[in-house]
């Protein structure tokens, strides 16, 4: 379980706080999306969780323990694939395990297994330049998985992809989530994406924000794209877009 307890944060260079007294929590195994206007601080939440930034006030806990005392509790997947062009797909995926000191034999076995699962086993010895955008994001996801963390932080992972690939990747991601039993925090600009994927949606509206409005999606898994046409879901989408609009105009 992830908990933010009264967290306040401001970038050194900024005059204003990004968040003040923010508290929220995410349960194990949940799929939670965070939406909000550009620049409102979504990525900053991830930077706080993975320890790249330290809050000025408050505590961030994972399973009740402060994150400073933990290792490998979260894995971050950025918008750009950030695959290392000089490494093969296999070596890219093994990178987090290499850093964690996993024995090479085991690295390879796990890499094979996950590549099989994401459907890219044939590309093991290829280089990132040989892959399409969607494939690269899958590799990037595989790398994130193999860091061994139970909580995945996905920051707009599909926003650079074309519409069809994106839709395909969303279905694929749900599949992976059901298979791997991980907690996923997912940042997106795309309301439809958030609704299709997640159980809960956190909406950031104010600046600085001290809370996020939580909206539950009344759909069960497995989901189908046709679910998006249900009247209550269409209604929900409109509602969310309305909230985001308001926050932009403020």
């Amino acid at each position: 379980m992830l908990e933010f307890k009264n967290v306040s944060f401001r970038y050194d260079v900024d005059a204003f706080s990004m968040m003040e007294d923010l508290s929220f929590s995410v349960e194990d195994g949940e799929f939670v999306s965070i939406i909000g206007a550009s620049g409102c601080g979504k990525s900053t939440i991830f930077r706080l969780i993975n320890g790249l930034e330290k809050p000025q006030k408050g505590e961030i806990l994972v399973d009740g323990k402060p994150i400073a005392s933990l290792k490998q509790y979260s894995a971050f997947m950025p918008q750009k694939d950030l695959l290392f062009p000089w490494r093969t797909i296999e070596k890219n995926i093994c990178l987090p395990m290499e850093l964690a000191g996993v024995p090479p034999k085991e690295q390879e076995a796990r890499c094979r297994e996950v590549l099989e699962q994401v459907g890219l086993l044939d590309y093991m010895k290829k280089y990132p330049k040989d892959l399409s955008g969607g494939m690269k994001q899958r590799v990037s996801f595989a790398r994130t998985l193999l860091s061994g963390a139970d909580m995945l932080l996905l920051d707009e992972p599909f926003s650079a992809l074309d519409y069809l690939t994106r839709v395909e990747m969303q279905e694929w991601l749900l599949h992976q989530w059901e298979h791997y039993d991980k907690t996923i925090l997912f940042i997106t600009h795309d309301v439809e994406e958030a609704v299709f994927l997640s159980q809960k949606i956190f909406v950031i509206q104010d600046r600085p924000f001290s809370s996020m409005e939580m909206v539950e999606v009344p759909l069960s898994y497995p989901r189908d794209r046709s679910d998006l046409k249900k009247p209550e879901i269409v209604e929900l989408k409109e509602q969310l877009i309305g909230k985001l609009r308001r926050s932009v105009s403020v």
């Binding site: 894995a75 950025p78 062009p85 000089w86 330049k129």
Partner: protein
């Protein structure tokens, strides 16, 4: 062949040169390309057996020392921002010092042996190598560095797994750039005072008013430098297959 147009241009220039030289008809001032080649052939034994090895020895030694020192400096500046703040401006400023003008001092201080020449070569190549490699290390993407940090990477991990590969293309550029520089450095130093070497040989031919003899070692030097750069380029292409994507 995509270099065909530049080859044609070179050929045209050579023809013009040949024509002009034949018109002037004073080989001690302007020898023609064919005269130079002829002279090169006549002088092949002393040039290739005695003077070329001498110059190459100086070049290789100077270049190796430069690469080691330049890498050390670049890496330590990248490692420690304080060092960068202190040294970087000095290095950039030092680029404006006319090395060729202070080369005679080295001969004065260190005599006619090999070390004065090696020092001139180092002086010519050390700073460009350090700066190019340093800029290469600095070209590391912040996002990639942060990604590694989220995996728990140490400073050393980041250096070995990210910075080093990122800077590799710059390293090759630095080498390719410094090969001609080091050859020039060695030749100038030999010109200023030596008992052997292509620079020295060229100077001796000058005192004998042998125009073609002055040019012959220069041609030899250029060819050797070009071939070396070409070999490095081939090695580079084998190792670096990702240059376009960065």
């Amino acid at each position: 062949m995509k270099n065909i147009s530049s080859l044609i241009l070179v050929f045209i220039l050579l023809v013009i040169w040949q024509g002009a030289a034949m018109g002037v008809d004073a080989a001690y001032i302007l020898p023609s390309p064919t005269q130079i080649l002829e002279r090169l052939w006549e002088l092949r034994e002393p040039l290739i057996l005695v003077h070329l090895p001498a110059t190459m020895g100086v070049t290789a030694l100077g270049l190796c020392i430069s690469v080691v020192l330049g890498l050390l400096l670049a890496i330590s500046m990248d490692w420690n921002p304080k060092l960068e703040k202190a040294l970087y401006p000095i290095i950039v400023a030092s680029q404006t010092i006319p090395t060729t003008a202070i080369a005679p001092l080295f001969i004065l201080w260190f005599g006619y042996g090999i070390w004065s020449k090696v020092l001139v070569t180092i002086l010519m190549t050390f700073f460009p190598i350090a700066i190019t490699v340093f800029d290469g290390l600095k070209g590391t993407k912040r996002e990639m560095e942060e990604l590694l940090m989220t995996y728990g990477a140490t400073k050393k991990d980041i250096f070995l797994k990210l910075k080093l590969p990122t800077a590799l293309p710059s390293f090759f550029s630095a080498i390719k750039m410094s090969i001609p520089l080091s050859v020039i450095g060695a030749a100038i130093a030999e010109w200023l005072g030596a008992q052997k070497g292509l620079g020295y040989f060229s100077k001796r031919m000058m005192t004998q008013l042998d125009g073609a003899g002055v040019f012959a070692p220069v041609v030899l030097l250029s060819v050797v430098a070009m071939v070396t750069v070409w070999i490095i380029t081939i090695i580079e292409r084998k190792i670096i297959t990702w240059r376009k994507e960065l």
